[in-house]
Amino acid sequence: MANKVFHVMYDDDQKLLDAARALVAQGIRVKDVFSPFPVHGLDPIIGVKRTRLAIASFMYACTGTALAILGTWYFMVSDWDWNIGGKPNFTWIENAPAFVPVMFEFSVFCGAHGMVITYLLRNGTLPGMPATNPDPRTTDDKFVMEITTEENNMSVQDIESKIRATDVYELSIKDY
């Protein structure tokens, strides 16, 4: 038998939350949820783990700081040591206070852009990518839960009856 995918539509975020809670309690694994806005409290129910993007951003920012230190040392001390107004740059540390603004800005630059590029790549949201939401109304006011038979060790009828017991707005079952 072909695998089936259930697209369960709700017309309210609270109904979606209640349904997700009820279905998960009955041992159904929810593959994904498509919603027009972030539904708070949904992630722990359907088992979405916390993202590590903030850690990635910190690491990009540290890389930025390191590059800025390396750059200012190379440009101002090593490659061509400037003597400006009798204040020579013999060592990086002597001039470090003057480099703080650039170090800060470059850290922010790398932290922000690194994180955003990672975010877009991890999401797979890039220019020209096709939309994958099952129904165009999910970006307006409807909420769709995706459940597959592949991930759930139950019969199609079993899953369907459990879904029907929730406050469903529309249900579509397709071959997968």
């Binding site: 498509f34 409290g41 970006t139």
Partner: protein, 458 residues
């Protein structure tokens, strides 16, 4: 779920549903352009083209076509630069700082304020870039390996810091804005019936589908970007002020400059947001989302920052005398009684006295007064930069080197032109982009929407 006190006024008026929010914001994009928009756009475009003409003339003839001279080497150009950068600050403040403080009212205004920031920073960048004269060599400000020997820009210079600050600020603001726009573009894509437009919005929305994991990441990215954009807002205008404060020109060499510039920037930025939003809410019928409460909150920010600016003016005036340095002292006597005293008093009236009217609730909740005041504040803030820049350098140390400044037609044309370019871009934004962060607004509908709040009472 987050509960909001019933005493607090609702942020979304009327009995709106999620679908109504989408409709209200997306339908102006789907329909034909209204007549008012076409008229405004034509005027803005004509002014913009005149400005571009002035810029082309400037590049062709050289910066001698500005009114600059040996004594006043910086005038309208840098005044306009600081003015535009300052205006830009409110956008990032609204999107970043108010997000960190969990101010939900920001959601109705952040999108257009961020757009304003981006366009204002582009306008700001025009001035220093063209002031370089040979604009095609602007990339020399970057530390690029070059064929001229070991020639690197000077990282000790505040002007160099500014290159980094402004480019970081611009690019981070742009990314912050666009990340928020992606889900809203997806909403337009999924509603759009015209195939060509659908294709365009499909490309712009990057294939966004609103998956749960994507939303989690979206919220994390927004929060982290807000966290790092907050110090960025403060650093950028601090660094702009250091362009002046690190020099030894009387009237510029003061430690008060960074906080004074930052509050001035927020002050002028909020005034510009008011100017734009008051027109936009009326013409695009967004009164349910941007209402008196939002305008009052912004006016309160204007009183606070305006008062900080006022205290800063008086402090620098007092310190100039208290310092005992005759050059410093004279710089300020010259400001309020010299040949350009009219600009000083114009600045004082517009920036210090007039915002105090907002202490009266009746005035700060009056749309007409707010609109008038927003223009006054922007005029005042332009004069602030003019006073700081021109009156400080036109009479500095040696009287023999004193000079005067007279703006040329190219000076004026370029400034007016940037206003035209700015409005052209902003009108294009208002026509084709979702002007409110509609998907963020939906998250507050149940906590701050009028009908839901009334339901909670019973």
């Amino acid at each position: 779920m987050f509960k909001e006190s019933n005493i607090r006024k609702p942020l979304i008026l009327g009995h709106k549903t999620y679908h109504d929010i989408t409709n209200d914001i997306v339908s102006p994009i789907e329909g034909p352009a209204p007549k008012q928009w076409k008229i405004a756009f034509t005027i803005a475009l004509i002014v913009a083209l005149y400005g571009i003409g002035c810029i082309m003339y400037l590049v062709g003839v050289g910066i001698g076509s500005w009114g600059l001279n040996k004594t006043v080497g910086w005038a309208w150009d840098i005044t306009n630069f600081v003015w535009w950068v300052g205006i830009g600050h409110a956008g990032t403040l609204i999107s970043a700082v108010l997000l960190l403080f969990r101010q939900r009212w920001r959601m109705a205004i952040n999108r257009s304020a961020e757009a304003m920031t981006i366009f204002a920073v582009i306008m700001a960048a025009i001035f220093p870039v063209f002031h370089m004269g040979r604009v095609w060599l602007a990339y020399w400000t970057l530390p690029l390996p070059n064929q001229f020997g070991s020639l690197w820009p000077n990282f000790n210079s505040a002007l160099m810091w500014d290159v980094f600050a402004i480019s970081t600020y611009f690019s981070v603001s742009l990314v912050f804005w666009y990340i928020g726009l992606i889900p809203d573009f997806a909403t337009i894509r999924d509603r759009m019936t015209k195939p060509k437009m659908k294709k365009i919005y499909s490309i712009l929305s990057f294939g966004w589908s609103g998956r749960a994991k994507h939303w989690t990441r979206f919220e994390e990215v927004s929060l982290v970007l807000a966290g790092i954009a907050t110090p960025l807002v403060f650093s950028v205008h601090s660094i702009v002020s250091m362009d002046f404060a690190t020099s030894i020109v009387p009237g510029w060499h003061t430690t008060i400059f960074p906080p004074y510039f930052v509050s001035g920037a927020i002050f002028s930025g909020f005034a510009m947001v008011q100017t734009l939003l008051l027109i936009m809410r009326k013409t695009m019928k967004l009164e349910a989302y941007i209402h008196l409460k939002h305008i009052e909150y912004m006016n309160i920010v204007i009183i606070v920052t305006g008062s900080i600016v006022g205290v800063a003016y008086l402090t620098e005036l007092f310190i100039s005398d208290y310092s005992g340095v005759q050059y410093e002292s004279y710089a300020f006597i010259n400001r309020f009684s010299g040949p350009l005293a009219w600009s000083y008093w114009c600045m004082m009236t517009c920036n210090v006295i007039s915002p105090q009217l907002f202490w009266f609730k009746k005035l700060r909740t009056n749309l007409g007064v707010t609109f008038f005041m927003s223009i006054i504040v922007n005029i005042g803030m332009w004069f602030e930069r003019f006073v700081i820049i021109v009156t400080s350098i036109h009479r500095d140390y040696v009287p023999a080197a004193w000079g005067e400044f007279k703006a040329s037609t190219i000076d004026i044309g370029m400034f007016i032109g940037t206003i035209g370019i700015f409005f052209t871009l902003f009108l294009l934004f208002a026509r084709y982009f979702p002007v409110l962060a509609l998907n963020e607004l939906k998250t507050i509908l149940k906590t701050s929407g009028e009908s839901y709040k009334n339901e909670n009472k019973h």
